[in-house]
Amino acid sequence: MNPAFGSGWLTLLYKELLRFWKVSFQTILAPVLTALLYLLIFSHVLEAHVSVFDGRVRYTAFLIPGLVMMSVLQNAFANSSSSMIQSKITGNLIFVLLPPLSPLDMYAAYVLGAMVRGVAVGAGVLAVTVWFAPLSLEHPLWALIFALLGSAILGTLGLIAGIWADKFDQLAAFQNFLIMPLTFLSGVFYSIHTLPPFWQALSRFNPFFYMIDGFRYGFFGLSDIAPEVSLAIVAAACLVLTGLTLLILQRGYKLRH
């Protein structure tokens, strides 16, 4: 490699960060407010009616890590998917395709950008919700690992969706009919032990469930599934999706004709 040239992926990452930072009211503050509203409404309605982990954890406290992780996941997806499809539709993706960026460079920049936004929104949600219930942080490293892996998975899914979709309508379908149901039915608002057996069994096929359950373990030291099992499933999903995305980028699917 010519020593005058370094790798360009750090600039692509910087561009991704600058892009959402310039519209931070929309990309950070708005989802924090949305999560706060969820907390206020659900905790007010359900606090006295729902028992979780055999009553060892208050419902509002149980809800907080779920909302934090839901925000992490949704915003990681939103960042990479919107960046990719906007660049494709406006045509400015050409500025990323012309330089000597490898598939791995592109993957790393888009997904790390998505992870930073997801974790930033998650931190914001935690900062404004932590005051509503006593919250412990039994295993912070576990919480951090699940936040990072979860945001990486959703950032990767966002990249795939952004590459696949030819118009915003298709991306909205991906988001509303796949990401949103998987997120809402993953145990953000309830413990799966409160569900009937059929729905409990079905929840175990939802990979988002393991992300949220593992993340919640980091706070309470309690979970529906052993955290090691959740970690293995989430890490495997991350690896598979990473491999798939690198293959898509390598082949130039819908990017290079």
Partner: protein, 298 residues
């Protein structure tokens, strides 16, 4: 010497359309090369293959000896492309746009060169304006800046002056000429044939995915040389009727090979006692050459 651009037997099909049907093209280092052709001829597809935006079905393309697929990192570092479409990222200012583009090529601390680019492209005063606030011509100039920001030895300009006013077009060409004089290879596609005639040393003409002419500008002009003569007369002798290009009332527009043929025409008219009341001459230009080549190529 390694060619700046080497395209060998490149083919590309989009569905039922054969966009490129086995194109061979070699552009030497330091050339100012013109790539001309009607819409749909395959110019942009060829450039896209060179830039790695489109993959060829067959054949190879190299930039300064580096294959655009197998050695794409080196090939792309050596190539700057001004795309045809007026695209921009609405999140950033002009300066941010150029800094980010330099960064994609791994270049840090290129402030001095960006300042120089902004100056040459007459964008210094708008450096901190958002891209959305620029006129079409200004956006086009930012595109040129983005293509040059990593100082590529080979520069491809795909319709770079569309929408740029005359004054700025002249300053842009002065800058591109300077880059060419400094040793940069320039490949230009344009619909303004007078620009190609004024700037390019060699020219390739594409039609329906094939190269139908490839030569120096002088050879193209002289091979299709000729005079276009407009004369006003009562009639024209039978022998000269096949040379008529157009006829309006008593004016005839004729295609002649050279001045000797013009002298024979005038002698014939005198012999037939046909009075010429008006006569004007036009030498062949690239536009005429282009039209004739396109007309005879099938």
């Amino acid at each position: 010497m390694t060619p700046a651009v080497e395209i060998l037997r490149v083919e590309r099909r989009f569905g039922t359309v054969q966009a490129l049907a086995g194109v061979d093209l070699v552009v030497g280092p330091g050339e100012f090369f013109g790539l001309l052709g009607p819409n749909g001829a395959g110019k942009t597809t060829l450039i896209s293959i060179l830039a790695g935006l489109t993959r060829a079905d067959a054949g190879t393309a190299r930039v300064l000896g580096h294959d655009v697929v197998d050695d794409y990192r080196s090939a792309r570092r050596l190539l700057g492309v001004v795309p045809q479409e007026l695209v921009f990222d609405p999140f950033f200012t002009v300066r941010e746009t150029l800094e980010i583009q330099a960064g994609y090529f791994g270049l840090r601390n290129s402030d001095d060169w960006i300042d120089e680019l902004l100056h040459h492209l007459d964008l210094t005063a708008r450096a901190h304006s958002n891209m959305r606030a620029l006129s079409g011509g200004m956006k086009r100039r930012v595109l040129v800046g983005q293509a040059l920001v990593h100082k590529p030895p080979v520069i491809v300009l795909d319709e770079p002056t569309a929408g740029v006013d005359v004054e700025l077009r002249q300053s842009l060409w002065a800058f591109i000429r300077k880059l060419n004089a400094d040793g940069h290879t320039i490949i230009l596609t344009t619909h303004y044939l007078e620009e190609a005639e004024a700037l390019c040393g060699r020219i390739a003409m594409l039609k329906a995915g094939r190269i139908v002419a490839l030569d120096t500008k002088q050879n193209l002009l002289s091979s299709f040389a000729g005079l276009t003569v407009r004369l006003t007369a009562d009639s024209l002798p039978e022998d000269w009727q096949p040379r008529i290009l157009r006829r309006d009332e008593q004016s005839y527009v004729l295609s002649l090979s050279n001045y000797a043929e013009l002298e024979r025409l005038l002698a014939t008219l005198r012999a037939h006692e046909i009075a010429v009341t008006e006569l004007s001459l036009q030498e062949a230009d690239l536009e005429q050459v282009f039209l004739r080549i396109m007309a005879r190529a099938h």
